[in-house]
């Protein structure tokens, strides 16, 4: 460190902190959402703030922007270039917002005003702070859109938000954020609502924007992978406080906070597919329940001792001290932060799920040429049929999981709904244990519904709020023909099976956390003793630390019962962890299907390869050395499918590795799924070229 001191000094005199937050407290009535947060940010720096729901990370960023509701009580200090922001009037704050401090929000689908053109909103952002003529501002707006990578900016500037895809909208929001060369950009979960390939593009655009205007970036996210790849320093927030801070490498490799360690151990990684996931028990605390008299993490902590439940620990410095930047020193809010023998001890092992347990050779689910068509109206009001699922075939054996992955709109959820006949399929056949589901009617259909059950994405809206848990599960038991007097016992058994206690049977859904609700959803699905369970994004609505528990539960139930799983998800890391085989969908078709390791280690379809390269890995060393293959643009709409191979409009092989002669083949012939080995099929004319795709 000492040898570096002169350069550090030079750097710090050049840039004193732009933004300093000291002992920030935010209260909404009785709820103490942020409890004493301090940090600072310098020009050119990327500060990551990572945390789960209720950690206070978004409240902190909105407090800096002065965007919290009027009656919020804010204490402490936020200074920007020496100017105190807490208590500043809305008028004075407005002069800073958008000019010196700007923000990118989570959901690009709703953060642009739907009734104004993208250009009008961007031009407004410029003209609020600078007295430019409309023509001049417009020219600048076009240039901004080009910087963030919007093609044909000159034309697209006059379009409305609904004419932009999600990724495009987020780029437009980033353009608005950088419009007046701000000093600090706060990005609050900027890519959470986006697909992974689009996430890679948007993070790159954000990086471009930051460098272009030489701003500091505060990157708020729940995704450790995004932090690993993009942040210089990180704050880990939990229960309204910073529980660990420091250099990204320090925190990821030498964490002194059991929560951070637990979080990292609970996240599935595509590069460590067989490593067991270690869930953190329980759920993140709600800010309303925090007392300040104990460590907020104590109840979930593997190393907790008596002191943890009686005294809330302060942030303790554990790293090499940097006098110029005391708030940059690695620190952790744990009583034992300075006792590596305690906080660095091995995390408790999780009970191993027997590999391949319950696996049999019997085909439980056989889907052949499944087609799902919707009637929709296009922009001109003409009726068009949109083919959401276009001839999909696969089988699932006992004890086997098929992971069905792809970007939003690829048809994976439509396929899941058609397979369970929650939606009538347009064509194709589905056989469950040899019985034809598509042809089943009346009583036979009812009996077949018991065999194939579904777990839904959103545990908050998929349970009837006015039915107790016993009623929810009991209803499914009644369908399965369990006599009334036997039901209470079966409900209790099912609750125990999914890791809940039987006393919870009389409670209502709102009394449970997200992870618990999803367990109730799983218990409901299992009530009919099904052969196949279709899991439609079963963990994507859950907090990261809770996901692992649900994934492990699913694996255990499968091993015990020999269930066949169709696991539909956009998160390839989760899918990689639980699946035996993988099917990748693009525009309604499976483009690659095969054994998990074969597909992940040596993808044969360029789309699979691009998807895999875009998934961030929560390890700074690994992540910085990786380069995503950036796919151009977005998935086309199923209603105007390109001729020949539908992927060619975005295909890196097509774009850079083919001569005109071979390109013609992609333009003319629609590739069929063909085996490249005994256990893998690929729909690509030139699967051998996929290996040569360079990471851009």
């Amino acid at each position: 460190m000492t040898t570096l001191a002169p350069t550090l000094d030079a750097a710090s005199t050049m840039s004193s902190p732009l933004l300093e937050v000291r002992d920030l407290h935010v209260r909404f009535g009785a709820v103490h959402a942020v409890r004493g947060v301090s940090f600072d940010v310098r020009r050119g720096e990327v500060l990551g703030i990572v945390g789960e729901s209720g950690s206070g990370k978004s409240v902190t960023s909105n407090a800096i922007m002065g965007l919290l509701p009027d009656r919020t009580l804010i204490e402490g200090s936020i200074t920007f270039e020496g100017q105190e922001l807490v208590g500043l009037s809305d008028g004075a704050m407005s002069r800073l917002r958008g000019a010196r401090l700007s923000m990118v929000f989570q959901d690009p689908m709703s953060s642009l005003n739907p009734v104004l053109t993208v250009g009008a909103q961007l031009i407004e952002a410029i003209r609020i702070h600078r007295p430019l003529s409309k023509a001049h501002a417009r020219a600048e707006a076009v240039a901004l859109l080009e910087v963030v990578g919007i093609p044909d900016a000159q034309q697209r500037i006059d379009q409305y938000p609904h004419e932009f895809s999600g990724g495009m909208r987020q780029r437009a929001v980033i353009a608005i954020a950088m419009a007046n060369r701000p000093d600090v950009i706060i990005a609050d979960e900027p890519t959470t609502a986006l697909d992974v390939t689009v996430q890679a593009q948007v993070l790159e655009a954000l990086d471009q924007a930051r460098k272009h205007v030489n701003a500091a970036l505060i990157l708020v996210t729940h995704d450790m992978g995004v932090i690993a790849g993009h942040a210089d320093r990180v704050l880990v927030m939990y229960g309204g406080r910073v529980v660990e801070r420091g250099d990204v490498d320090e925190v990821f490799e030498r964490s002194r906070m059991p929560y951070t360690r637990g979080l990292l151990a609970s996240i599935p990684r595509i590069d460590q597919r067989d490593a067991p996931l270690r869930p953190i028990p329980g759920a993140p605390p709600s800010p309303a329940t925090l007392t300040g008299r104990s460590c907020p993490f104590a109840a979930r902590c593997a190393f907790a001792q008596d002191v943890c439940t009686s005294v809330e620990p302060a942030l303790l410095d554990v790293g090499a001290e940097d006098e110029a930047r005391p708030l940059a020193t690695h620190a952790a809010a744990c009583h034992f932060a300075r006792h590596p023998e305690i906080v660095r001890a091995d995390l408790p092992t999780v009970p191993e799920v027997p590999a391949g347990g319950g696996r049999g050779s019997e085909v439980l689910l056989a889907v052949v040429d499944l087609v799902q068509r919707y009637e929709a109206k296009d922009r001109a009001g003409r009726r068009r049929s949109v083919v959401a699922v276009d001839g999909v075939s696969f089988t699932i054996r006992a004890g086997e999981t098929l992971g069905l992955v792809g970007e939003s709109g690829c048809g994976k959820s439509s396929a899941a709904r058609a397979v369970t006949r929650l939606q009538e399929m347009t064509g194709g056949t589905v056989h469950v244990r040899g019985r034809d589901l598509a042809a089943a009617r009346g009583r036979e259909l009812t009996s077949m519904r018991r065999q194939i059950q579904m777990v839904f994405q959103d545990p908050f809206s998929s349970l009837d709020p006015r039915m107790s848990v016993a009623a929810v599960i009991g209803e499914a038991l009644a369908l399965a023909g369990v006599p009334r007097r036997a039901r209470a016992e079966r409900v209790a058994q099912l609750l125990r099976d999914v890791g809940l206690s039987e006393e919870m049977a009389e409670r209502y859904p709102h009394e449970f956390s997200g992870g618990q609700r999803q367990r109730i959803g799983i218990a409901r699905a299992l009530a009919t003793d099904p052969d196949v369970v279709v899991l439609d994004e079963p963990v994507s609505a859950l907090d990261v630390s809770v996901q692992a528990g649900v994934v492990n539960l699913l694996a255990r139930l499968q091993a015990e019962r020999g269930l066949g799983y169709l696991f539909v998800a956009h998160d390839l890391a989760v899918v990689a962890h639980i699946s035996d085989r993988i099917a990748v969908m693009y525009l309604g078709r499976i483009v690659e299907i095969g054994g998990r390791d074969e597909v992940f280690d040596d993808p044969a379809h360029p789309y699979t390869k691009a998807l895999l390269s875009a998934i961030p890995i929560p390890d700074p060393k690994v992540e910085r050395s990786r380069q995503a293959i950036t796919l151009r643009g977005d998935m086309p709409s199923p209603s105007d499918r390109p001729s020949g191979c539908a992927f060619r409009s975005r295909c890196p092989v097509f774009a850079s590795l083919l001569d005109d002669e071979r390109r013609k083949r992609c333009e003319r012939d629609d590739p069929e799924l063909e085996p490249t080995s005994t256990s893998r099929d690929v729909a690509c004319h030139f699967p051998n070229l996929t290996r040569e795709v360079q990471h851009a």
Partner: protein
């Protein structure tokens, strides 16, 4: 957009036809318009009654009468009236009187509703909102006829106290040839009655849709750009919040006409309300039908207009 308008009209035409048929039958079968002649003492000679019946076409079967009426409409002939008035001419004069009232009331009620609703929403659950909301609920609870009568008596007292007629409480002013400021004196009370009844419910719609808009992400972005709260509401909030309101105004047109009829009769206006009430009293089919035709056409045109305005406000509809 044009296709959309044409389609709406195409749907409206058969609707209008069915409504007219049902209405015609209901009035025709609800009694004998000649009964007041028959009950005269001494009764007029049967030949005289038969002659009036022939004149009015009442001697023909009801379906034929409907057919004659329907074909007459296309020739601009509204048919003969029991009360022996020229329905077409009468309609013209009375429409002017009534529409003046309704249009004025709609405009004032809408403006007041927007102002009250937006202020309420921006100060949600604050002191201003609580006071305003209480007043609005009182206004909602007041029946039109009651407020009307009350206002009428209050105005009479006021006029006596002032020693001159500020508010006219009888008539619509057209027969006495009132114009300009004097006309305002005639219009004031009935308009106030209608406005009180209508702005209250409308302001609740504006309030709730504004509250929804205020928490929208694009409002947060608008403020993150550097707009103050007030400017963000004016530039980004209003248009979004008023989109559903446009539809509400059009849908409430019928209720407003109902209120206008009551209001007109309290202040003894010779408007559309008076025409309808007399028509019903006399079992005068053609008068009721003429009234219905005007009312139904106005409703359809207004709803179409609302859809078009919605399209102008919301680009997502425009392209659909």
């Amino acid at each position: 957009m044009l296709r959309f308008a044409i389609r709406r009209f195409a749907i409206a035409a058969p609707m209008l036809f069915i409504a007219s048929f049902v209405m015609f039958m209901m009035v025709a079968f609800s009694g004998d318009p000649m009964s007041r002649y028959r009950s005269m003492d001494p009764p007029p000679p049967p030949e005289a009654i038969a002659s009036i019946e022939r004149q009015l076409g009442l001697d023909q079967p009801v379906l034929v009468r409907y057919w004659n009426w329907l074909t007459g409409i296309f020739r601009g002939d509204f048919g003969a009236s029991v009360a022996n008035v020229d329905i077409g001419a009468e309609l013209g004069a009375r429409m002017l009187v009534s529409f003046r009232l309704i249009v004025l009331a709609v405009l004032i009620a809408a403006v007041v509703a927007i102002v009250v609703g937006v202020i309420s929403a921006m100060r949600q659950s604050g002191a201003i909102d609580n006071v305003v909301s209480t007043l609005v609920f009182i206004a909602l609870a007041l029946p039109v006829f009651w407020v009307g009568v009350l206002l009428k008596y209050a105005a009479i007292e006021f006029n006596e106290a002032a020693g001159t007629t500020v508010f006219y409480t009888v008539g619509d002013g057209t027969s006495s040839g009132a114009a300009g400021l004097e006309l305002v004196g005639f219009l004031a009370l009935p308009t106030i009655v209608l406005v009180i009844n209508q702005f209250a419910s409308w302001s609740r719609y504006v309030r709730s849709s504004m509250i929804e808009v205020l928490s929208a992400d694009y409002m947060r972005l608008a403020r993150a750009k550097g707009l103050t709260k007030g400017r963000a509401v004016v530039r980004h909030g209003l248009r979004n919040a008023l989109m559903p309101f446009v539809t509400i105004v059009a849908l409430d047109f019928s209720a407003l006409v109902g209120g206008a009829i009551v209001s007109e009769s309290i202040f003894q206006w010779r408007g559309m309300g008076d025409l309808l009430l007399n028509g019903i009293r006399n079992l005068d089919v053609h008068v009721v039908m003429a009234w219905l035709l005007v009312f139904a056409t106005a409703t359809i045109v207004l709803n179409l207009l609302a859809d078009l305005v919605y399209g102008v406000l919301d680009p997502r509809i425009r392209t659909a």
